[in-house]
Homo-oligomer: 388 residues x 2
């Protein structure tokens, strides 16, 4: 894989951007290379075999890129799948799925995981009996080739997030291939819905930053008042925990245009850990692809426990529930990301001491557009204070 | 409310389109009218009172517009809220919320339900203690004024659905008000994300029909191959049960441009009842607004149990589970929509007799694009056979 490194300037610090994703030609070469090895093993009357990285938390490390950035990465341990009487079905499924995915990439088509499963119904004895069988084979191939499944042109059912603001997204007409510019300042009250695969997109923008928000409701408020025009930014709505496509879109855009990424979620453990941390460093059980899906540029704008005091939100908070307290305590004790960043430990400890959580809509207590007129301008004036 | 009726031609039959939604001016007049009555009651030293329709299934009827169309509608029974010692808090909340919503409409701003709740934190003694209190007041006002909450400029958290194809959506720049045309043939591999409120949108299209599909995955396949260009249609993805915004968008577009609506879901009770029936006639517990959110033009394209036979999908089906069987039997016995349409009863009975369900991705069994090359063209050639 081409691991072209590029330099990125963010908040005045130089950081190293991640690997460039494999292009379609490279993916096909990888599949051909692996298939060629199997073919020659067979001709040489050797047992054909495939090597897959072990996909488990025990085979994961937290990779630090510098003081403030890192992601979960898969370690070297591999498992071997040799052709035997016991493995013949899985082995055949892996090879046929490789052929199927190569065909999809070669014809520039797309395929859903559910279609992988159904398409195999014509394979006779080696058809997949259940969806999880197909998923495992796809995940194994993804890990073996060190690509993400979007590079196999695999699409997910989940929607990718909404985008508006000062950006032109360069796409192509899927049928004719002619280039298409989508101007996200010209979508009215609506938004650009990020497609499942974003590898082929290019970007034109003079925006200063990307503002990623948790709720679609806040996104609509920011868009309704064209906040992105006044702040010269791009706004992205995650609608909760960000999907792979949303994370990859923000990552590619931030890498390509060297933009800082500011994240605005509810002030609770779910917002901090499940949403922000997933966007920034990825998730533990998908370590073999986190490298593509993490957004190391991400910085946390708010809502922090300190914001509750500064912006007088006390009477718009909610008491922490048991599940919040447990999640925060577990994170302080066990989460390598939190342990790595003392600012985050302090944030969780402050939240536990205050005993309350706060939502990003809470600013409406002052007035509906306080969040636009007061909170965001004040916070954005001092990005160096954002949490890592 | 202006109940301007317009004639629509669909599948050769003449049908009557529904009421035109109240414009912003009308909503403000309604609020002023109600507030004026309260004011004069107080001046005349009468106890002020408000009348709300009872929002319960017992106050709902199934309204038939003709042989094949109808929706759940609220009946006339009303409940009175008079100012007394016991009702003073709810009464005050209702009046203040009326004022708040009038202000939002007057300034052409938007507001989320969560913001209604938080904004009331400054109301002192009559603040909402919990979100459901605020929701009830909003729902009551919606029923009292016979508007939908989108006409109060209330937005939901849920996203509205994805759109692509032969249509230009006429919107405005939210900040400047300048008109904006969004050409949905020029979005590349991405889609138009329907905003929470669609009342202000206008449409330009020469499409022949709207194709509404259950899964985003199928939507992306249709879009990837620009199916909408070959079929001259507009494609909409619901991503499961359609949101209010998605239903309202399809309804307004279909009314305005007099377009038939064809719906393509999985072939199971969830697809038939929870998705298709909700889109077509609305849901039982929101009868006071179904009139705006039903899509009477909708016709069911597939997947039907008969399609399993015609398109040889037997080996790509799944056995019905107990929950499917129960849902289908309950519907045959109790659902007024199913009872009204013998075609639907036959469909559910056929499904129960076959004992299997089928997904819309199952066509991938033949080949990935069989659904585009074979299934849809064959079905679309005979729309008169679609289920009502």
């Amino acid at each position: 894989m081409a691991r072209a490194k590029s330099k990125t300037r963010m908040n005045g610090k130089r950081v190293v951007a991640g690997p460039v994703a494999a292009s379609q030609g490279e993916v096909m070469e990888k599949i051909d290379g692996e298939a060629g090895k199997l073919y020659h093993d067979i001709l040489a009357e050797k047992r054909p075999r495939m090597l897959f990285p072990v996909r488990a938390l025990s085979n994961v490390r937290y990779v630090r890129k510098n003081r403030s950035e890192g992601f979960f990465q898969i370690k070297g341990r591999k498992t071997e799948r040799t052709l035997t009487v016991n493995t013949v079905k899985t082995f055949a499924q892996s090879v046929r799925t490789m052929a199927q995915l190569k065909d999809v990439v070669a014809t520039n088509d797309i395929i859903g995981k559910r279609e992988v499963y159904y398409n195999a119904k014509s394979w006779g004895e080696v058809r997949f009996d259940e969806q999880p069988e197909a998923d495992t084979v796809v995940d194994d191939l993804e890990a073996m080739f060190a690509v993400n499944r979007e590079q196999f042109n695999l699409i997910a059912e989940e929607r990718g997030g909404n985008v508006a603001g000062s950006i032109v997204i360069v796409d192509r007409d899927p049928a004719t291939g002619s280039p298409i510019d989508v101007d996200c300042t010209k979508l009215g009250t609506a938004a650009y819905s990020v497609p499942s695969r974003v590898e082929h997109l290019a970007f034109k923008t003079k925006a200063d930053f990307i503002l990623v928000v948790e709720t679609n409701q806040l996104f609509e408020r920011l868009n309704h008042h064209a906040f992105w025009r006044d702040a010269n930014c791009i706004i992205v709505s995650m609608s909760g925990v960000p999907t792979r496509a949303c994370r990859r879109f923000v990552r590619r855009l931030a890498d390509d245009k060297k933009l800082p990424v500011y994240v605005f979620t509810d002030g609770d453990p779910y917002g901090y850990m499940n949403i922000y941390r997933t966007l920034k460093v990825g998730s533990g059980n998908a370590a073999h692809i986190n490298e593509f899906f993490c957004v190391p540029q991400a910085r946390f704008l708010g809502v922090t426990p300190w914001d509750i005091e500064e912006f007088k939100l006390h009477d718009a908070t909610h008491p922490l529930e048991q599940v919040d307290i447990k999640r925060a305590r577990d994170a302080i004790k066990n989460d390598p990301f939190i342990q790595h960043h003392k600012e985050w430990r302090e944030c969780l400890e402050k939240m536990l001491a205050m005993g309350v959580r706060v939502e990003q809509q809470a600013f409406a207590k002052h007035s509906l557009n306080y969040v636009i007129q007061e909170y965001l301008p004040k916070k954005l004036a001092r990005p160096e204070r954002f949490l890592p």
